[in-house]
């Protein structure tokens, strides 16, 4: 028992160490001015995708439910926090404090949506759950695309038609402009905040997994009937894991929204394409494997950018590399070969030691 605990702690420490090492290396390179602008610009998105991948791993890997609506929660977090930042830009001038509250707002709103959606959705299982979450993700995106919100001296105005029907005073300012989304969000995200959020996410999830709650959640995943017979409250634990996962996706959305000055809910960034992209990170990195998700998210985000030299063939090569990586990681034959090599490697090491 003690041995197992140590192994887990060691495993977590490697994950933290990896993130911190990457951070230190990047900081040193940045201070030496040896990082290309492309790489520098990618640092915050990398943190965003790592948080998304790790948080989805909680639903898919630990809870064992396939969710295809993760981008929807990211969208909610992004829009709620961007709205908060725009509204309070004049009152809270310290960008650090404002961003801290924006993160809390994004996480809280996404968590509320997670609970609301989780209540009906988590009654389903397997494929059905996947399809319903997919639908919810699309509903969120489409809903945001028709929302018009303005503010003037009389308070907030809301419409679902167009900006004219907001009936605002002359001093009014349109905050959310339907399909045009939110423009002019302050640029508060930076690499340091991103890394801190990544570490917090990993901390929350690894601790959750190794706690009493996490064991209950995993028991539900492995055998629902057995778990129920032991007196585990299935709905409660499922909802808990689902909403934590949603709120962390919301945090990623906050980071995303405050990195770009324009925020629109397009199929490209908050549609099911994105949900599937996040799922690809999780599956490639290994379902239930936190460190794997981090590495997969980093590689798959960097890859299309590093392939820019190939021009029009870029997305084709990206797809081929993705297929090759999946095969290398997960095809039974490849696993067999890798195992053979590693046993050989191990026996030869042992042999040397004995000699």
């Amino acid at each position: 028992m003690k041995n197992k605990f140590n192994k887990q702690t060691k495993d977590n420490l490697i994950t933290y160490g990896m993130v911190i090492a990457a951070f230190i290396i990047m900081q040193i390179l940045l201070s030496m001015g040896k990082v290309s602008s492309l790489m520098e610009g990618l640092l915050v998105p990398l943190c965003t995708y790592v948080i998304l991948a790790v948080s989805l791993n909680l639903t898919v890997g630990i809870l064992g439910e396939l969710s295809l609506g993760h981008a929807g929660f990211m969208c909610v977090g992004a829009f709620s926090s961007a709205l908060f930042s725009k509204c309070t830009e004049a009152t809270i001038t310290n960008s650090g404090i404002r961003f801290f509250f924006a993160i809390l707002v994004g996480a809280a709103v996404a968590a509320v949506f997670g609970i609301l959606i989780g209540i009906p959705v988590l009654r389903l299982k397997g494929d059905y759950l996947a399809i319903v979450t997919l639908a919810f993700g699309e509903i969120i995106k489409n809903f945001i695309n028709v929302v018009y919100l303005g503010r003037d001296s009389k308070g907030f105005h809301f419409s679902m038609k167009d900006t004219m029907s907001l009936n605002m005073e002359a001093d009014g300012e349109v905050l959310i402009k339907g399909a045009q989304g939110i423009t002019g969000t302050p640029n508060d995200s930076n690499f340091i905040v991103g890394i801190v959020l990544v570490l917090v996410t990993i901390f929350i999830i690894t601790n959750l997994v190794n706690s009493r709650t996490g064991r209950a959640v995993m028991a539900i995943r492995d055998n629902r009937i057995a778990a129920e017979s032991l007196g585990i409250n299935i709905t409660k634990y499922k909802l808990l894991a689902f909403s934590i996962s949603a709120s962390l996706a919301g945090v990623a959305g906050v980071l995303y929204a405050h990195n770009l000055s324009t925020l629109t809910a397009l199929p490209k960034n908050f549609g099911y394409n994105m949900s599937i992209m996040i799922l690809v990170f999780v599956v490639l990195g290994g379902i239930g494997n936190i460190r794997g998700s981090i590495i997969a998210a980093v590689i798959l985000t960097l890859l299309p950018e590093l392939l820019r030299g190939l021009n029009d063939y870029r997305m084709l090569i990206y797809a081929i590399v993705l297929i090759a990586m999946m095969l290398f990681n997960w095809s039974p034959k490849a696993i067999e070969v890798k195992e053979k090599i590693s046993t050989k490697f191990r026996t030869s090491c042992k042999g040397k030691k004995e000699v």
Binding site: S36, L38, G41, A179, D312, F345
Partner: protein
């Protein structure tokens, strides 16, 4: 063990790519310093006017849903660059174009911009779509890089003083359309069908409605559709028909307009159809019965069938090189490169100037030049970045665009 090995390998590759990235930048920087040194050397020896290459970056969607526009811009810009280089360049300085894909996504556009920055871009011609343009404009303002967007039509695209555009802004088009309809008394009852999920379409729609009131036009029906439901328009058309509209305003792109025209015929609804520059290209839609478009009016700065020499030459050259008829985006991009040329000549840009110095020089030059291009003659710019040119209205008669 296996997992550890794998993760170790992956971490190694990761750090390798990071370093590889840095390495390439290093070499690039040294190369440029070499290049500038040689330019300096030549200049000091023979005192000749500026030589070398001016690096123009381009950003637009060359893959994905909006690829048609990005590719048109890329091709036309390349065509203009080749022409200028063949004719001796700008003040003896060659132009070089590097066009990066942004998939019409704000985040990818910023990545593309950073890639171009690593390439030591001096002037930016982009981006093609509005959302991406707003995100990039924020970055160019920060870095003080001159930006000229061929087709980013949202107001926010050029809020900063370093950004200019070639096309009309969305509000401008809506206003111009309403004024045109009002002044020529084409109709008093107007119905609008617009795409509520498109920035372009909603932008035009809103200003159209605002200006319509001043022109004595009554908007009797305003029906929206979204990108997810852009195949069946019978409900919207039926409502427009029931409202008794004399004119149907379509501030949308041509592929949806083609469907609307076909479906309007099936319910025998035949008002006057009026559109904006998005409708340009409707005659080239595959399997589209061009007789349906008979009598359609549109405000567009460019028509590929126009008879003037410049347009004819451009269309022939484009067709020879890339195949197909260029659309309005291509014309905007072609003009954009010539505008950069005109401004660079006015400001006396040299290839060894930094992007920031070039930006300051071009900012003033832009307000002083007058350019005759494909999308308008005698184009001038104000310091806020908006172009001054007259919109042209064309009508489709016997399957060709005819000026009105």
């Amino acid at each position: 063990m296996k997992k550890k090995l794998l993760s170790a390998v992956l971490v190694l590759t990761m750090s390798a790519t990071l370093f590889a990235g840095c390495g390439s930048t290093d070499t690039e920087t040294t190369e440029t310093t070499d290049a500038t040194e040689t330019t300096d050397a030549t200049e000091s020896t023979d005192g000749a006017s500026a030589e070398g290459t001016l690096k123009i970056g381009g950003i637009g969607p060359t893959t994905g849903d909006a690829a048609v526009y990005g590719q048109a811009v890329e091709n036309a810009a390349q065509l203009a660059v080749d022409e200028i280089n063949a004719a001796g360049g700008v003040n003896g300085m060659m132009l070089e174009l590097n066009f990066q894909d942004d998939e019409a996504d704000a985040e990818k556009a910023v990545n593309a911009y950073n890639t171009l920055k690593d390439w030591d871009m001096q002037v930016l011609m982009g981006t093609v779509t509005s959302t991406a343009c707003i995100a990039v404009a924020e970055k160019t303002a920060e870095d003080n890089v001159f930006q000229l967007t061929p087709s980013g039509s949202a107001i926010e695209c050029i809020t900063h003083d370093n950004a200019f555009r070639v096309c009309f802004s969305d509000p401008n088009q809506g206003k111009a359309s309403a004024q045109y309809i009002g002044e020529n008394s084409l109709a008093t009852k107007v119905a609008v069908i617009y795409d509520s999920s498109s920035v372009y379409s909603t932008g035009i729609y809103e200003t159209f409605v605002a200006e319509a009131a001043n022109q004595g036009i009554e908007v009797v029906a305003a029906e929206a559709f979204t990108a997810d439901s852009n195949k069946d328009f019978t409900v919207q058309l039926q409502k427009a028909k029931d409202s008794g509209a004399e004119l149907l305003f379509l501030p949308i792109y041509y592929n949806e307009a083609a469907l609307i025209l076909a479906q309007a015929k099936t319910i025998s609804f035949a008002p006057t159809f009026f559109g904006c520059d998005g409708l340009d290209g409707i005659l080239a839609v595959e399997n589209f019965d061009t007789s349906l478009a008979e009598g359609v009016m549109l405000l567009t700065p460019f028509a590929a069938d126009a008879q003037d020499e410049a347009t004819q030459n451009f269309v022939t050259a484009y067709n020879e090189k890339f195949g197909g008829t260029p659309n309005q985006f291509a014309a905007d991009a072609y003009d954009a490169i010539y505008i950069i040329k005109a401004a660079a000549e006015k400001a006396g840009i040299t290839a060894d100037m930094s992007a920031s110095d070039i930006c300051d020089a071009l900012k003033t030059a832009m307000t002083e030049i007058t350019v005759d291009g494909l999308t308008g003659s005698g184009m001038t710019w104000t310091a806020d970045g908006e172009p001054n040119k007259a919109p042209k209205a064309v009508k489709i008669v016997n399957g060709v665009y005819t000026a009105m």
